[in-house]
Amino acid sequence: MSVDLSTKYLGLDLKNPVVIAACPLAEKLDWLKRLAEAGAAAVVLHSLFEEQIEHDEVELIGAQERGAEYYAEHSNWFPEQEDYRIGPGSYLEHVEKAKKAVSIPVIASLNGVSPGGWTRYARLMQDAGADALELNVYFIAANADMSGEEVEKQYVDLVLAVKESISIPLAVKVGSQFSSPGHMAKKLADAGADGLVLFNRFLQPDIKLDVLEVRPRLELSTSFELLMPLRWIAILRDRVSASLALTSGIHTADDLAKALLAGADVGMIASTIYQNGFGQVRTILDGLAQWMEEAEYESVRQLQGSMSQSKCPDPTAFERGNYMKALTSFTGQPI
């Protein structure tokens, strides 16, 4: 018996639920092709960082102006180049090339900071041929005077603005740190998000002991990290209209199966490919198909959300009960 792995995400028909998460794997066309060959149903390109573009531009112009016109013998330091590829140009070019290189949907990813920048770049990505857009909202609310409401409003306003400027589907990737993630998800969906990608893993600062300096550090995810998005996917499955993608923690076919059971339309993977190679996509898909066969599921759509909070045998397990149970089993004593 063969199982039907197809699914729908952001209104796009996908041949299976494995989507490549936004990461540097998409930077090379060759790698993209290998991912597609390995079976990936769609790919989210690495993010275009608005801050990076601004930084590059300011740095480039700064480097040209630094030391210029100081002294009669050197009015400047560097020969002017005919063209600079520091704007979104090379990214947009990459979107176009990616579309030509692979037949699976290509989702552009935008990591922006300013209202103007988001809409401008979003439109450019659409024009470059992206099938959908993922907004990677990366905002650290470090300002202690900024309320949660203000933070949330900022997110919603961004989604509204971007949605208004494009016609392709829009996914929003967020972190988990909201007082009410469910409510936040709902607000984002109401603002126009066609899909939610849960959850973003922020680059965390680390302290370097030898020089007493703070440096960013990125660690690959582990299967353990699956559990938090799993919970929220399960809770949100029947509460928001948007598509749901689970990201962070899917390393195996079992992980993917859990994500789908909880209610994800797709599972996004990246770390496991870094660890196991491009073939891991196929391994996970084969594993999923095998498990589905063994569990006698006919299709992904059949199992999707069957273990969501509203459908699972014990809805409280996704809420506080879950916590109590864990404690009980750990101590051996009922609370």
Binding site: I53, Y70, A72, E73, S75, F78, Q81, Y84, P88
Partner: protein, 1209 residues
């Protein structure tokens, strides 16, 4: 009035008007009309080569349809050779140069002319170095080429530079006489003015392809071989030399033919000599280049006033068409003043004067007019209508001076003319603006941009010119802008400004910014104080001028506007906006739209628009922040402007250097200047520039007394002293000290002190400080803090610190960082860029050897910060001893230092001979000690100094010729430390031949190569030290080849001490290698990694770049010591960690290519990594090689000269 030149263009469309400087106007033509350009950078012509190089890199074609080959050579001599070869092989070929560069071309120029080869050299006429170098303009270089047989065609304006560049190209092909097309360096090369731009079709129409084919037909060709360049003998050389005469006889007519053809195309008519003035003029001045516009403007006014005066503008100076000159003069002329912009000492008169005399003698019918001769404008000395009027006034006199100067006050030979400086030709409808800014604040760029906006987008004409001071850190720029409804011909500074903008509030304390403001002018001040409070912060002198001249006074807080627009310290946009609003040349809305359009054009292509948006915000912010100040009727201030140097400075420093510092250098009389270019050292200490916003403040509680801050300080403004506690008596309140932490000086105290008025605020000391506060690691043992919070206390502390006795050098552990920094630097407060990577090496070397050093300095950054007036950073110790310094040329610092060695060795021999002769009178023991002392340690040097003092006493008592002679040479008995300093342009390129000979000589000269890997002083051209993949001028597409391994070449001789060092990566290694090199009694080469602003880095953390350079293997540390016969080569850095790419892409020089041509960048970076790997492996292998027995060391007997000879043996 006769005006032979018209700017009216034939045809309906008319020309395109653009704002260009003279170099771009010329380069544009040269690029189109040439196939090969062999170039070498020299100010002010560098831009002439840089532009075609960049255009070629971008694929821009010439009229032949090919992309010109623009090649950088190793020197101007090399460029001339390449040009000669290219011409002989049939390509239309050019080059660009000036000054000493042109002189280096002279040998080939004789050949090119002798072979009747068409070519054009475009020359930004620049002063030839004599008693001093000058980068500015006069004709001494061009005039030195009169004998070469080249035609000399002069341009006097940007338009003329554009036009004559083409006329020269056309004429040379026809005449077969090569041409120098020249114009005044800086005044024309760098002035921006509005010109009618030629089209490519205009250029095509002027280049006769038949003549081009004829040139090619004469080329060396193996299919029809000839031989050119024979050696000839007395019987026939002379005749052959005369055979070229017909070509010179027709050359002037050929030029006029092409001038006429040019006029038929463009409507602009030139003649060999153009006359302007009264048809019945009796007094006429004759001159060439930019002075012509000044003279024309003056004549215009004087003729209007009814005077019978005129000017002849010389276009073609060689071949000199005497008949054409005579024909150009009105027949009514009674007296001619020949004005030469050059000086030929000992000649009967300067060249133009003599030529005019000859022309009149040969061609004038009847009694000829009287001719007087004047010199003006040497080294870009201002030449104004007032001076021209002064010359005309002199000509009215019954007995005018036959020879005179104008523009200076000559109180030695009395040659100078008096003139009325108030004479002016400026019309009231001309906007005449002055902008005082800092190099870093964008003022010059803004003024250039303003001129462009006006000149290219309105019906108005604009002219902009920029004056810089001599320092690279905290340099003051003055931008001169004119806007007029008429073409602006007079190339001179703005002396009567109706708009003055001071972009830096602190300038009011030291510069008289309002001296050139005319009554009723507008004064715009960038002020942190608002309109209601600013008045109380102005010095008396400023208030006085505002009140007396009834200035309209406005303030804007430009820094606040810039900060709010996220533009950092770039106040240019804000200040430019205020200028447009106040000057009222354009309606405000139109002006703002034009500014924004210019911003879009400037920054639009470089990204996503962030910088555009920020500039727009600055425009809008400035409009809201501009306020008029209600000026009180009375002066109320009580504080006066600071004097340029302290009152207790020596007289020469006050009267001469102080005048230069205060922008009053033009007032210095001839008698005040040294007659032979000799100046006192140790004068930067008087300047007290106070340019830092933040200064380092020491925290003794955290300090570990490592000395790294003092070592790294590029400006010697952080000092460390150790002293006995009693030295603290009388210390000012707040003077900080700590207990000495070492075992050397038990019970002693120490202090680290900043010189607040001399610090540039670069922050390097803080960056290298390793001591952090455990509880708050951002706090170090030294921290940058606002100068205004500390200046009074720190200034008093510095004064006290200077008075603390210097340590006895013999007591110091010199070969440690800490110990070295207890030694007095004999190089302080130079004008180098803030955070300079070169000066820490120079300073350290003076700490070790400064009291007995001779320095031969190649031209370049190190000669500019080391020897540019007004003030000299090389200084003296308490006994008055310090480095003696001289700059010869760019190319010969090796040979120059070698010459020092020869002289010193001779003098030592002579002194030894005299000692032996006088041994009986002086005592054998003293004589033996004087001759035999090894003088290796500080102790031994001190003992030798004591012996020499004793010797002097004894000699004074001996009445004998030998004794007198020995007295004169006794100083040589103290071992002298001889150094050649220079950059990589010198060592790798132009001076390499001499350096190579030095290596072979084995004589005891220490060579310090301050390797910035680029031509730093001339603004970033590639040298052979530039690494692969770095973008530089003349390597606009990224340097394709690998960096030359200079050290390896030196090591190949086997007798040269070679050290490759990096102060930022391993200061102790640098220190010890420097000491070892100096101790070696043969030739030593130190290659010192010197970060530079030309790398495109944040200079505050530049030492980190050096660390990474060494860590990744890009800059391996090593030393090669011929004394170590078993293993001379030692690789002193660790196995590489990290990649070349990681190191490189943090610097704009590499990152720029990654942003513009990513694939090419990736390719070159990969090759660069390979370079690193190969070099490392090579060095590893070399470290394993055991030196062959028998290769002599060249050290060991203490006698420098014999050591050298031994090495040669």
């Amino acid at each position: 009035m006769v005006d032979v030149q018209s700017t009216e263009k034939k045809g309906a469309a008319g020309p395109r008007f653009v704002m260009l400087d003279g170099n771009e106007a010329t380069a544009w033509v040269a690029h189109l009309a040439n196939e090969v350009m062999a170039i070498y950078p020299i100010t002010p012509s560098s831009g002439l080569g840089e532009m075609p190089d960049a255009w070629a890199a971008a694929g821009r074609k010439n009229i032949f349809g090919t992309v010109p080959d623009v090649v950088e050579m190793q020197s101007e001599a090399g460029a001339a050779g390449a040009v000669h070869g290219s011409l002989q092989a049939g390509a239309i070929t050019s080059t660009f140069t000036a000054s000493q560069g042109l002189l280096l071309m002279i040998p080939n120029m004789f050949k090119i002319a002798g072979e009747l080869t068409p070519a054009v050299f475009h020359v930004t006429a620049r002063t030839v170095a004599t008693h001093a170098l000058s980068i500015f303009g006069d004709h001494s270089d061009v005039m030195a080429c009169r004998g070469t047989g080249w035609a000399l065609l002069a341009s006097g304006s940007i338009q003329e530079a554009h036009d004559m560049a083409l006329i020269a190209q056309a004429a040379t092909l026809d005449a077969r006489v090569p041409f120098i097309h020249f114009y005044d360096g800086f005044r024309i090369s760098h002035e921006v003015n509005r010109i009618a731009h030629l089209s490519e079709d205009d250029v095509r129409a002027m280049i006769d392809m038949e003549l081009v084919r004829a040139h090619r037909a004469r080329a060396l060709n193996p299919d029809k071989p000839v031989l050119r360049g024979t050696a000839q003998n007395p019987d026939h050389f002379f005749q052959a030399r005369e055979a070229c005469n017909p070509f010179y006889d027709r050359c002037a007519a050929v030029v006029q033919k092409w001038m006429d053809k040019f006029a038929s195309i463009t409507g602009r008519q030139y003649h060999l000599f153009d006359y302007f003035g009264a048809p019945d003029a009796e007094r006429v001045v004759v001159l060439m280049t930019s002075g012509c516009g000044v003279a024309e403007e003056t004549v215009d006014k004087l003729v209007d006033d009814g005077e019978k005066v005129g000017v002849v503008k010389v276009r073609l100076y060689r071949p000199f068409d005497m008949r054409a000159l005579v024909d150009a003069l009105p027949k009514s002329v009674k007296m001619i003043a020949a004005l030469d912009r050059t000086k030929e000492p000992g000649a009967p008169g300067e060249p133009l004067y003599q030529d005019i005399l000859t022309a009149l003698a040969e061609c004038w019918d009847g009694p000829s007019p009287k001719v007087i001769a004047g010199r003006y404008g040497l080294s870009s000395k201002e030449f104004t209508p007032a001076m021209v009027a002064g010359v005309f006034d002199e000509m009215k006199k019954a007995q005018p001076k036959r020879h005179f100067t104008v523009g200076i006050h000559d109180d030695v030979t009395g040659l100078s003319l008096d003139y009325d400086p108030a004479f002016s030709t400026e019309k009231e409808d001309v906007t005449r603006a002055l902008f005082f800014g800092l190099g870093s604040d964008g003022t010059v760029g803004a003024c250039r941009n303003t001129a462009k906006i006006i000149g290219e987008n309105t019906a108005l004409n604009a002219q902009a010119y920029f004056v810089y001071d001599s320092r690279k850190a905290g340099s003051v720029t003055v931008s001169h802008l004119r806007v007029s409804p008429r073409p602006i011909k007079g190339s001179y500074l703005v002396h009567r400004a109706n708009f003055v903008a001071c972009h830096q509030f602190q300038f009011l304390e030291k510069i008289d910014v309002l001296s050139n403001a005319e009554p009723g002018a507008t004064f715009l001040l960038n002020s942190p104080y608002g309109p209601d409070e600013v008045w109380d912060h102005l010095p008396v002198e400023v208030q006085e001028e505002i009140v007396r001249k009834k200035l309209k006074f406005y303030v804007v807080d430009g820094y606040r506007v810039a900060e709010e627009a996220k533009m950092g310290v770039r106040i240019n946009t804000a200040m430019q906006t205020c200028f447009f609003k106040l000057a009222g040349m354009l309606p405000e809305d139109e002006a703002i739209a034009q500014i924004k359009n210019a911003i879009q054009q400037t920054y639009g292509k470089k990204g996503g628009g962030t910088v555009v948006e920020r500039n727009f915000a600055a425009v809008d912010g400035a409009l809201g922040a501009l306020h008029e100040v209600q000026v009180p009727e009375q002066v109320t201030s009580t504080h006066r402007r600071r004097p340029p140097v302290p009152d207790d400075a020596p007289a020469f420093v006050k009267d001469v250097l102080g005048a230069i510092i205060a922008n009053r250098g033009d007032e210095i009389p001839v008698s005040a200047m040294p007659c032979d270019g000799t100046f006192p050292t140790a004068t930067t200490r008087y300047e007290k520039r106070r340019i830092a916003q933040y200064i380092p403040i020491w925290q003794p509680d955290l300090c570990i007394q490592c000395g790294q801050c003092a070592l790294a300080c590029p400006h010697a403004t952080i000092r460390m002293k150790a002293f006995e506690p009693s030295a603290l008596e009388g210390a000012p309140e707040g003077f900080l000290s700590a207990d000495w932490r070492g075992k050397e000086y038990p019970g002693w105290k120490m202090a680290i002190q900043v010189a607040p008025d001399d610090c540039t605020g670069c922050g390097m000391c803080v960056d290298v400080c390793p001591a952090k506060d455990k509880e708050q690691p951002k706090r170090k043992a030294i921290n940058m803090e606002p100068i205004l919070d500390h200046i009074d206390r720190e200034a008093a502390n510095w004064d006290f610190f200077l008075g603390i006795p210097e340590i006895d050098r013999a007591q110091v552990k010199i070969d440690t960082i800490k110990g070295s920094q207890l030694l007095l630097p004999l190089f302080e407060f130079s004008g180098a860029c803030a955070g300079c990577g070169e000066t820490p090496y120079v300073k350290l070397i003076t700490q070790f050897f400064g009291d007995r050093m001779l320095i031969a300095n190649a031209t370049g950054c190190s000669s500019i910060y080391g020897g540019n007036l007004p003030c000299t950073p090389y200084c003296v110790n308490g006994d008055g001893q310090g480095p003696a310094w001289s700059n010869s040329l760019f190319e010969d610092a090796g040979e120059f230092g070698f010459g020092f060695r020869l002289a010193v060795d001779q003098q030592i021999d002579y002194a030894h001979e005299l000692l032996r002769r006088l041994a009986s009178k002086l005592g054998d023991a003293l004589v033996a000690a004087l001759i035999e002392c090894p003088q290796q340690t500080e102790q031994e040097i001190a003992e030798q100094r004591a012996r020499v003092a004793e010797l002097r006493k004894k000699l004074a008592a001996i009445d004998d010729a030998d004794a007198k002679n020995l007295l004169a040479s006794a100083d040589y008995l103290v071992r002298r430390s001889i150094w050649s300093f220079g950059g990589d342009g010198w060592a790798y390129d132009i001076g390499f031949g001499g350096l190579d000979h030095m290596f072979a000589s084995g004589r005891d000269v220490n060579i310090l190569v301050l390797d910035t890997e680029v031509y730093s002083n001339t603004g970033g051209q590639a040298s052979k030290s530039t690494p692969r993949g770095a973008v530089a001028k003349f390597a606009a597409g990224g340097k394709p080849g690998r960096k030359k391994d200079l050290g390896m070449i030196a090591m190949s001789y086997g007798n040269v001490y070679v050290g490759q060092i990096s102060m930022g990566a391993n200061p102790l290694h640098a220190l010890r290698t420097i000491r070892a090199a100096e101790s070696y009694r043969g030739t030593s080469l130190l290659i010192a990694l010197s970060h530079c602003i030309g790398w495109g880095i944040d200079m505050t953390t530049a030492m980190d770049q050096q660390k990474e350079a060494v860590a990744c293997g890009y800059w391996p540390l090593y030393h090669y010591d011929p004394r170590d016969e078993a293993q001379p080569f030692h690789l002193d850095s660790r196995e590489p960690k990290g990649s070349f790419k990681e190191f490189a892409l943090k610097q704009a020089r590499f990152a720029m290519l990654a942003r513009s041509k990513p694939e090419e960048s990736e390719r070159l970076i990969a090759l660069g990594q390979n370079d690193v790997d190969v070099r490392w492996r090579t060095y590893q292998n070399l470290a394993e090689v055991t030196k062959n027995a028998g290769a002599s060391s060249g050290d060991g007997n203490g006698a420098d000269k014999s050591a050298g000879k031994e090495v040669n043996a």
